[in-house]
Symmetry: C2
Subunit: 486 residues, 2 copies
């Protein structure tokens, strides 16, 4: 693909834009294995920064990492009834190994509740062994029919936290604590605001008592389920004999939670901030925050300008800024600009012979708020001093822009089914209505509008005026949010 | 298993000691899946520190991380003849997915050369696209018949570097560069000295032109292959069409290297430094470098002592020391000492009411060089100030101790087959002899002594007097090193 070929504009075909930008920003590529992607260094670098930030937050909240087997006996998956119903159609199964047919087929983990709680059952004797607060970074496999890079792939990378507690209350606290960690991470690092809330029974995790979710709005106004936190009750502990002796000497089943986010978040980042020139990476997650492009015509200019570029790089690095000098000889500056814009590096710094003499640089922002200059000449020393602060401002602006867009496309006080349908078929977005709790209403909405009940929003996201009428008619008992979703 | 039950002494049964210590130090546990282990937080914490250090070294040498699919089409594995011969007997095969039988079986990657070079073939057009210097952190699967925690498991975690170069020379340089990175990491972090060198043709990686290895000596004097770096020549690029247009305009095949180390290194750490009380973790890899145990009888003592313990913890943390306060109420100090000794924490700090009054602490080293005190009373402020230096001294002593042990059990100038056999059946160790290069000699040694040709040592490790006689009789053309191995 030619490097300067323009991307399909988002307004023309958002889905085509997404597929193109993911590949042309070198985030990921299709592999010869159906539904499995290759995550390229630029995409993996963003994922590594996500991992680092999340891992720190998990450790601050008392969790440790561990690693459990990739392959799970089929009989384990089958033990929890709802769980197997949810996952069985998507399983990849190892039937042969070491040149022989296996006595029992092994499934490539679609998620690890069963194998993990079987181990906890072995480790836990008394209340003193609780809580167990573990997380695992791993690959998982769900054989999906229709796949899209990052958003829905047969194999994906994720983390899955699995905890065991002595009481229902503690497990509920943990479920909400991790939902809060996810919300904070998505807002503060991905600059992607989310609505948090409870899933309806129809939408909850197969095997959970309650599922909480983070729902983000993409630029095409569809919802992306960005992370979930489940209260599993005693469903798995009963199937796997995860019991403990309580302080009072009685034998009790433990209470479990699980929570996960995946490489899907990279897709969320792309669809939240990208524009027709490429992706935009929030500074806190950018593998490169500032790219320096030296500009020159003659050889003697080259030496001085490249030397200065590397001196600037050292000065930035000293201030904790992730910086790269693009001194490739076979590309002209224009080609480099396009490439780094496509890859979403927050700041570009151009430096030529005249700038050198004036001890100035040209600073170009990847995204410019209305009314501000995209390109500014500033003294070298000022660029160095101010860069950490400029990156934080950029980070904040991305979040604000995304939040404003979400608010502009959130529809509250919707009372009639017709109005709901009109919005979803027209502008789209998040639609808040009343709901009686009747699953038949969910089914009707889904069948007629392709939207699903995304969540019963947490307090922070509820409308000022509580709806009293269910969107399906009759009395509402709660407010819910609907959207078409990825 | 009771917490104070003693481990089988190493001298009595090294293999039993290993199996016990790995489980009782909570490094890993057996899982319900044959040959697959669970890596518990203490073992995973050590692996995380290994990963962090190696990853930094990979990035310093210009590598980036990426991620390739877990499942590989069977036809890919079959394309390189030697490769498939080496790996086919150990493959785990997915035959069914999404409720259907697959048209082509997929293998769970035993290593990723085939899938990775097929992608490089897609990305590389010209010499300007080279070199490609990627690494992946991943799980791999080799269906082994006899497994042992960390040393040989069906599934293990590792990193695999895969590079593509325009010339043979560049690829050779890369192969040796990464061998050097491994050697440095093993010495400076695991405190595990290694002999580096070239594998014989019989022992090289299936598909490589040349395999270089790092061989470490365990306490039972057997060798552990701790890491390998392969020059793959054009073997894979020819099978996968990985070509590029050279600067002169001709179409050429690229030259590849691959290199890897795995969670096996945790087993190497255990067998290098452990003693009859437990494992010993080198400070640079220890998840906890100092454990503080508060000692008290009465409740009012408890408050003051625990408060002081946490104040000390903060002071250590400020100096970059990883520290934990063990203030569990249901264990007495003795039980805590045993547990942390078993887990190999380098320093224990005891603090009781009398120490509090004197502003002193009791410092206990996990390993004490002969003639030094195991337990010392030192002023609190001195413990804080000196700890970073004490940890470095401890790290250095572990390396020296391991190196001295290896040297004491390295046998040089061995000329006769009988002498070789006597050493291997008696004290064991690394035996250096001359070799003609004849594979029949290797086969005879293996059949009669169970030892293998570990490597043709690099210059640093060769004997001062070059052997002239082959151990199988006749003229030697090189010096080689033999040992029984894991």
């Amino acid at each position: 693909m030619s490097d300067d070929k323009k991307l399909t504009p988002r307004a023309e075909d958002f889905s085509a834009w997404y597929n193109e930008v993911v590949q042309r920003a070198e985030l990921a590529d299709h592999s010869p294995v159906r539904g499995s992607m290759v995550i390229r260094p630029w995409g993996y670098g963003i994922w590594e920064n996500m991992q680092r930030a999340l891992d720190d937050m998990f450790k601050e909240t008392g969790h440790e990492n561990a690693y459990f087997p990739l392959l799970i006996p089929m009989s384990f998956i089958e033990r929890e009834k709802e769980h197997v119903a949810g996952f069985k159609p998507e399983l990849a199964v190892v039937t042969h190994a070491g040149g022989k047919e296996l006595e029992e087929p092994l499934v490539v983990r679609p998620t690890s509740e069963t194998i993990i709680y079987s181990m906890y059952a072995k480790w836990v004797q008394s209340y003193r062994d609780l809580p167990i607060l573990l997380n695992q970074w791993a690959n998982v496999m769900r054989w999906e029919l229709r796949t899209r890079l990052f958003l829905r792939t047969a194999e994906f990378l994720w983390q899955e936290g699995h905890t065991a507690h002595a009481t229902d209350e503690e497990a509920q606290e943990e479920t909400l604590r991790m939902l809060g960690v996810y919300r904070r991470f998505m807002e503060e690092f991905i600059a992607m605001p989310v609505v948090t809330g409870l899933k309806s029974d129809a939408e909850k995790f197969a095997g959970a008592v309650r599922t909480y979710t983070c729902e983000a709005m993409m630029q095409d106004r569809r919802a992306l389920q960005a992370g979930t936190s489940h209260h599993l009750g005693q469903n798995f502990s009963k199937q796997f004999g995860l019991t403990f002796q309580s302080e009072e000497g009685t034998e009790e089943y433990a209470w479990n939670t699980s929570w996960g986010v995946s490489t899907r978040l990279v897709g969320g980042l792309v669809m939240t901030h990208g524009d027709d020139a490429g992706i935009v990476v929030p500074p806190r997650l950018a593998p490169v925050q500032v790219v320096i492009v030296p500009i020159f015509r003659k050889d003697e200019e080259r030496v001085a300008v490249v030397e200065k570029a590397h001196a600037l790089k050292a000065a930035f690095a000293e201030r904790g800024v992730r910086v790269r000098v693009d001194d490739r000889d076979h590309l002209n500056p224009g080609a480099k600009y396009y490439e780094w814009e496509r890859k979403g590096v927050p700041f570009r710094l151009e430096i030529g012979p005249r700038d050198l003499a004036k001890e100035q640089v040209v600073l170009v922002r990847r995204v410019t708020p209305e009314g501000e200059d995209r390109k500014v000449f500033i003294p070298e020393s000022e660029a160095i001093e101010r860069m950490p602060a400029l990156l934080e401002v950029f980070q904040g602006e991305l979040l604000e822009r995304a939040r404003a867009r979400r608010e502009a496309h959130s529809h509250r006080g919707v009372n009639s089914f017709e109005e709901l349908k009109e919005i979803l078929e027209g502008p789209g977005g998040f639609v808040y209505t009343g709901w009686s709790g009747d699953p038949a209403v969910e089914e009707r909405v889904k069948a007629e509008t392709k939207a699903t009940l995304r969540c019963i929003p947490d307090e922070d996201f509820r409308s000022e005026v509580t709806p009293t009428r269910c969107i399906g008619g009759g009395q509402a008992t709660m407010e819910v949010m609907w959207a078409r979703a990825y």
